[in-house]
């Protein structure tokens, strides 16, 4: 089903799957692993948190990461200032041995909306420090443009707030970002709840989507991961195929030439 050689670029890496997936909220570690495999994702997100020595530094999770053998995209979830995010990014780089970072700087805890000023400040500092920054942002065009101009080759606007499952709240804004930033790698980062939301994002020309809750909180996460995988592939193929122009008037698809029961009228 997937088009051959239709790879997506994240900085200097060519990646096969256009679905990025989180590792949180699954009913069990085994279901997490199976869901990630079912999604076909090549990139998984993860984080850093306080741990006591008894947890063995998350050694079970490390073993799972090793077994999965995916590209790691650590996030800065929970940070509220540029300084916090910058520090956490440096900690992630040492632990996960990657210069990729999913930059999140939250400005409001009610809807987990990113702080545009702090996000931009952190992005600039991290790019200067050699990071490949994947910034989580809103669908504000100017915010996205400024991140891109700062050197973020990947831009990740939300579809709607994290974990809401509301889908694409503002398709017009997202379409405009696609139009105005043709060379950016655009990823819908948050708010998707259904495979149809993912498909819509891909049909709009987004390069990829990033998911977590929609899969992890489904009754059957493994099957839902597969459903999202098909939706992403289908949406991408639709985008590449070029959709018909929308019309305001009905047009019969069966030819009217030779229609039965047709009578010439004088009106």
């Amino acid at each position: 089903m997937k088009a051959m050689n239709d790879l997506v670029t994240f900085y200097d890496q060519k990646i096969n799957s256009r679905l990025l997936i989180g590792t949180a909220l699954y009913p069990s570690p085994s279901i997490m692993t199976q869901s990630i495999e079912a999604s076909g994702a090549d990139i998984i997100t993860l984080s850093l948190r306080r741990q006591s020595p008894e947890t063995q530094g998350g050694s079970h999770f490390w073993q799972q990461l090793k077994d999965l053998n995916k590209h790691l995209l650590p996030n800065t979830a929970g940070c509220h200032t540029a300084k916090e995010a910058i520090t956490l990014a440096h900690m992630s780089r040492e632990l996960f041995e990657t210069n990729w970072v999913k930059l999140e700087v939250i400005g409001d805890d009610y809807n987990l909306q990113p702080d545009p000023y702090a996000t931009l400040e952190a992005a600039k500092a991290l790019l200067k420090d050699g990071f490949k920054v994947f910034p989580y942002c809103t669908d504000d065009l100017v915010f996205c443009q400024q991140l891109f101009d700062a050197g973020c080759e990947v831009i990740m606007p939300w579809g709607s707030p994290i974990g809401t499952g509301k889908g694409l709240m503002n398709p017009y804004a997202l379409e405009t970002i696609r139009h105005r930033l043709p060379s950016a790698t655009l990823v819908i980062d948050a708010g998707l709840g259904l495979p149809s939301h993912a498909m819509q994002a891909m049909e709009l020309g987004f390069d990829a989507i990033l998911l977590n809750t929609a899969v992890a909180k489904a009754n059957d996460p493994i099957a839902m991961a597969k459903a999202f995988r098909y939706a992403v592939d289908g949406g991408r193929m639709a985008y590449l195929s070029g959709a018909m122009e929308e019309q305001s008037r009905a047009n019969p698809s069966t030819t009217v030439l030779g229609s039965p029961f047709w009578h010439q009228t004088n009106d």
Binding site: G22, L25, R49, G57, G58, F61, E84, M91
Partner: protein, 67 residues
């Protein structure tokens, strides 16, 4: 005794010379952890040379699932 805040909790530890010694004292040696002091990242190779001070705030973090 030295008073430190470790992962948000005020903690008294014996006088220790370096961050490396504290890591051992707390049982984090050989664990996959990363450390920040007073919101500044400390690379692992600096642990032996970092001197701890009263009221330092430490974050000792490790990998977890995330979205």
């Amino acid at each position: 005794m030295l008073t430190l805040t470790i992962n948000g909790q005020a903690t008294q530890v014996p006088p220790l010379n370096t961050l490396q010694e504290l890591i051992g004292h707390l049982g984090y040696e050989q664990k996959k952890i990363v450390v920040a002091i007073n919101l500044n990242f400390i690379p692992k190779n600096q642990y032996p040379s970092i001197q701890l001070k009263d009221n330092d705030q430490l974050e000792i973090l490790s990998a977890v699932q995330g979205g």
